[in-house]
């Protein structure tokens, strides 16, 4: 049977690869993120010409060069601001911001904060490897206290930042976390981010096998990961552990780890609600850290908020509808004029 529908050619993940050689260190977690990104674009049918990747500086920020889309490898920390200008004038484009813990939270902290609060419709993926890789191994704003690096031979003395807590504090409407080697989860998380309308902020635990190898072993090791992470699912209780016998319960304002059975049932546990209008729960989850707690992965928060790019273009539209498209003569002759014969 003939069909009159014209079907667009289906792009395979490989069709999103540029002709440039990928130059990350062998074994870097970035490879996995790149592979998942191509899969997500392929499975969502994203058009290459309508997709733009914007990055700052750092290992992760080489990402745009490897994608056969439009892209800007900008300057250190400024990718969210570049994306803001781009998306404001071209709301039709699918925009991804690729950043790292140094790029996004140190030199570019200000832009990240304001991009998130404005809630433009783009996706920010922060590769968190808890180290400066491209400058060869200094501690980063997410490195733990006491971290010994080239620039901190006696241990880091500043308290680390927690990317998701920052994002939630900036009124983020979509906040998620995944792990480079947990490819199924990573793919699903990126897909959720792409589908969300508004700024999606995704933290990816990413292993730097050269300067900070094993930083996330606890969360990726086959033997431990089920006890050290808890997968968030909307409307479901927070249950984890190899035998799925542990859960998170709220004790007043504090979360606590409890064992199921012995009078504690699933109904006693904290149920995840990513749609909660208040960010309190999401923030509480973002504070759960090893070794006291399993670290949550998945979507922490997904709510709908007004978007800066929409409102900006709406105001222009409104002004044009109200007073008509501008005629230069109108402004030039506004106010008092006089004529010389």
């Amino acid at each position: 049977m003939e069909t009159t529908e014209t079907s667009l050619p289906v792009l395979k993940p490989a069709d999103y690869a540029s002709d440039q050689d990928v130059r990350w260190c062998p074994g870097c977690g970035d490879y996995s993120i790149l592979a998942q990104m191509k899969k997500v674009l392929s499975s969502t049918g994203a058009s290459r010409e309508n997709t733009v990747f914007i990055s700052g500086i750092g290992c992760s920020s080489r990402f745009p060069y490897y994608m056969n889309t439009y892209g800007i490898h900008s300057i250190h920390g400024r990718a969210p601001a570049v994306a803001t200008g781009l998306k404001t004038v071209r709301p039709d484009l699918n925009v991804w911001v690729i950043t790292g813990d140094g790029d996004g939270l140190s030199i570019g902290g200000n832009h990240l904060m304001h991009a998130i609060r404005r809630n433009l419709d783009f996706n920010i993926v922060l590769f968190n490897n808890r180290i400066y890789g491209l400058t060869k191994g200094q501690y980063s704003p997410t490195s733990p206290l006491g971290k010994v690096t080239k620039s901190t031979p006696m241990g880091a003395i500043d308290n680390p930042l927690h990317p998701l807590s920052i994002a939630i504090g900036c009124e983020a409407a979509f906040v998620a976390r995944s792990i480079d080697v947990n490819i199924k989860h990573l793919g699903e998380t990126l897909q959720r981010a792409a589908a969300h309308s508004g700024t999606s902020f995704v933290e990816v635990y990413q292993n730097c096998n050269v300067f900070n190898d094993g930083a996330f072993d606890y969360a990726t090791n086959r033997d431990t990961k089920q006890d050290t992470t808890v997968e968030l699912q909307h409307g479901k209780p927070l249950i984890f552990g190899k035998n799925r016998d542990k859960g998170i319960r709220l004790n007043g304002m504090e979360p606590e780890v409890v064992e199921l059975g012995k009078g504690i049932t699933e109904d006693d546990l904290l149920f995840h609600d990513e749609k909660s209008p208040e960010p309190t729960l999401a923030y509480l989850l973002s504070r759960m850290r090893q070794p006291e707690f399993p670290e949550p992965i998945g979507v922490f928060r997904c709510v709908d908020r007004t978007r800066y790019d929409d409102l900006m273009n709406q105001q222009v539209q409104e002004a044009r509808e109200k007073a008509g498209p501008g005629d230069l003569r109108d402004i030039f002759h506004s106010g008092e004029t006089w004529t010389v014969q």
């Binding site: 800007i72 601001a81 200008g85 004038v89 200000n110 230069l328 106010g335």
Partner: protein, 618 residues
């Protein structure tokens, strides 16, 4: 009905030009008074030039010297280019205003003071040990000691205003008196009052009464013996309006967007004295103007770069400190070869410097203030109205050569005003832009494939087949791929420089006002145009062998400029900096140029430039 009012007939003296300055506390409404006198004079057909001068503090403590705000206006029956050197009439609303401004009043000039503000406290704040109104120290002026506060209170009596509200009408009394003195009609100001205070009829009425009261005071007070009249100037036929530099610049940008069929994106962070560009553009959204008030200067320029990549007219506007913050991103625009306008409304520096005062000390920052070999085009406006034309020229060059273009103005041009002959919209030159269309051949797009000007194609996201990546790493020419090849870096550095140099083929030849050769050539740029042009004209009238080149294009220079310079024995470069253009001229042309340099937060007077010309041509 008979009237008992007697109108004293007073002689009326014709003058060619008059300079008036209002000064008082920053809450006294001096800017408003100056603007009203300016608009009225412009509507009467005079040529006008203005110089508002206000403190950086919004409201410094009342009555202090730090809080003095002034507005100078020059109106004439002939063409003028400056707000005037010496003041003919000075209105001082308090002792602090008097002590800080009296040195600019010419000998035997008219001095109007509000007697009521010369009390012990006011005199003390101004640092007077004795009252100048009584100690004969003002004998060299035509002093009018008028109880303006009391007369204003009398005028508004019965309207139920508080004393504070009554006293806020004092500026209208002062305006009224000056309007009578210089034979100006009250109608435009009365219309302004209706418009501005229409919703507060009581205040409107009070201001009207104060204005008329001041006018009648001039008419009837015996001490004010003479009235002056300035005929309309013979300006080029056309419809005119008065315009400030920042407004003209904003309108020029809107026009450029219209002429290039682009939407206009402005990325800006509030900064004196550039913020009015952001304010003005924000009012005109219906012209497809998108204004982004960024979180900082860096976000302002990088968002502008994003908008440029997306294919819209991209502009960022700031002043010196903000431009310093933008430097790295401007380098990225040079590297990625994207078109944008970088506006620098210069103010006194370094660092925070003198935020509300004028200076021309960012020329070298625009030329060189970035890492690496990073050339960009630089052009400058010469007067408030010129900002309109220069804005369009900046965009024309940015898109033809795919690069950031610096547009320099300064605080003096930004806040000053002059009559602007409104152009016929249809006569404005279009700014054509071409974007490459979709490619179907499956070959990788070549984003750095160059045309005869060495410009690269402006390929827009959304165009099938033209996907490409740009960035701050060095690019291989033609392909745009990252390249660390030594010879390619040399080649790309040369190309970026050559692109700027090629602009010289695309701009008008430099004109010379005066003889084609001679003893002295005055070379100026930016806001010093008026003082330099007027000084040269006066020197020429006095028989001096002197000519004038005023540069709009600073990088590159016009291609005939090198031939002009050697035809003169000496070159004088007056600048409101310590010799920045002079440094470039010495470097580029190996000439021993002489400077006239001043950084006092104030523009040149004509006299300062003229004296230097006379000294050199002795």
């Amino acid at each position: 009905m008979a009237t008992t009012e007697t109108k004293i007939s007073k002689p009326k003296v014709q003058l060619d030009r008059v300079t008036v300055r209002f000064c008082g506390d920053s809450g006294d409404g001096m800017q408003l008074a100056g603007n009203q006198l300016t608009n009225t004079s412009a509507l009467m057909g005079n040529d006008v030039a203005t110089f508002p001068d206000f403190p950086a503090e919004i409201r410094a403590p009342r009555g202090t010297k730090a809080g003095v705000s002034g507005f100078q206006i020059h109106f004439a029956s002939q063409e003028i280019h400056t707000p005037g050197d010496d003041v003919d009439a000075l209105v001082a609303m308090n002792p602090a205003a008097l002590v800080t401004n009296i040195r600019d009043l010419r000998t035997n000039g008219i001095l109007v003071v509000d007697q009521d503000s010369f009390d012990k406290k006011g005199l003390g704040q101004a640092g007077y040990s004795s009252n100048p109104l009584e100690d004969n120290s003002l004998n060299g002026y035509q002093l009018h000691t008028i109880p303006i506060t009391q007369l204003t209170r009398n005028a508004v009596d019965g309207l139920g205003l508080s004393q504070k509200e009554s006293d806020r009408c004092r500026n209208f009394f002062a305006m009224g008196l000056i309007f009578w003195l210089y034979d100006r009609p009250l109608d435009p100001t009365l219309r302004y009052i209706d418009e501005k205070f229409g919703k507060r009829p009581q205040i409107a009425d009070a201001n009207r009464r104060a204005l008329k009261s001041g006018f009648h005071y001039g008419e009837t007070a015996e001490a004010v013996a003479t009235q002056f009249h300035v005929e309309p100037a013979r300006l080029e036929p056309g419809t005119y309006r008065n315009i400030m530099g920042n407004t003209a610049l904003a309108w020029g940008l809107i026009a450029a967007a219209h002429l290039s069929q682009k939407r206009l994106f402005l990325g800006a962070y509030p900064i004196t004295p550039a913020s009015d560009i952001l304010h003005e553009l924000s009012r005109h959204k219906r012209f497809n103007v998108l204004t982004f008030q960024a979180e900082d200067e860096i976000a302002a320029v990088t968002a502008t770069l994003g908008a440029a990549f997306a294919g819209e007219m991209a502009v960022t506007a700031s002043s010196g400190p903000g431009i310093a913050l933008k430097a790295e991103a401007i380098g990225l625009a040079v590297m990625t070869e994207l078109p944008m306008i970088v506006i620098d409304v210069q103010r006194g520096g370094p660092s925070t410097g003198l935020p509300t005062k004028t200076e021309q000390a960012d020329l070298l920052q625009a030329m060189f203030g970035r890492n690496g070999e990073c050339p960009a085009a630089v052009i400058a406006a010469r007067s408030p109205a010129d900002c309109f034309d220069v804005a369009q020229e900046a965009w024309r060059l940015a898109v033809r050569y795919m690069m950031p273009v610096f547009l320099l103005t300064d605080g003096y041009i930004a806040n000053g005003s002059e009559p602007w002959r409104i152009p016929d919209v249809d006569s404005l030159e279009k700014i054509p832009i071409e974007h490459p269309g979709a490619a179907e051949n499956g070959e990788p797009f070549l984003p750095y494939q160059r045309d005869e000007r060495l410009s690269r194609p402006w390929a827009l996201p959304g165009t099938p087949g033209l996907m490409h990546r740009i960035g701050g790493l060095e690019k291989q020419d033609i392909t745009g791929n990252v390249s660390y090849d030594p010879l390619n870096h040399q080649h790309m550095t040369d190309v970026r420089a050559q692109k700027v140099a090629n602009i010289a083929n695309d701009i008008p030849l430099q004109s010379v006002q005066g003889p084609e050769e001679g003893k002295l050539l005055v070379v100026s740029w930016g806001g010093t145009y008026g003082a330099c042009a007027t000084a040269v004209q006066r020197a020429q009238a006095a028989g001096k062998s002197v000519a004038h080149c005023h540069l709009r294009y600073l990088n590159p220079f016009p291609r005939n400029f090198a031939e002009i310079l050697p035809r003169f024995e000496k070159i004088l470069v007056p600048e409101l900096n310590m010799g920045q253009l002079r440094l470039l001229l010495r470097d580029r042309f190996l000439i021993d140029a002489v400077g006239l340099n001043k950084v006092q937060g104030r523009p040149f007077s004509v006299q300062e430039v003229l004296e230097k010309i006379e000294e050199i041509t002795e």
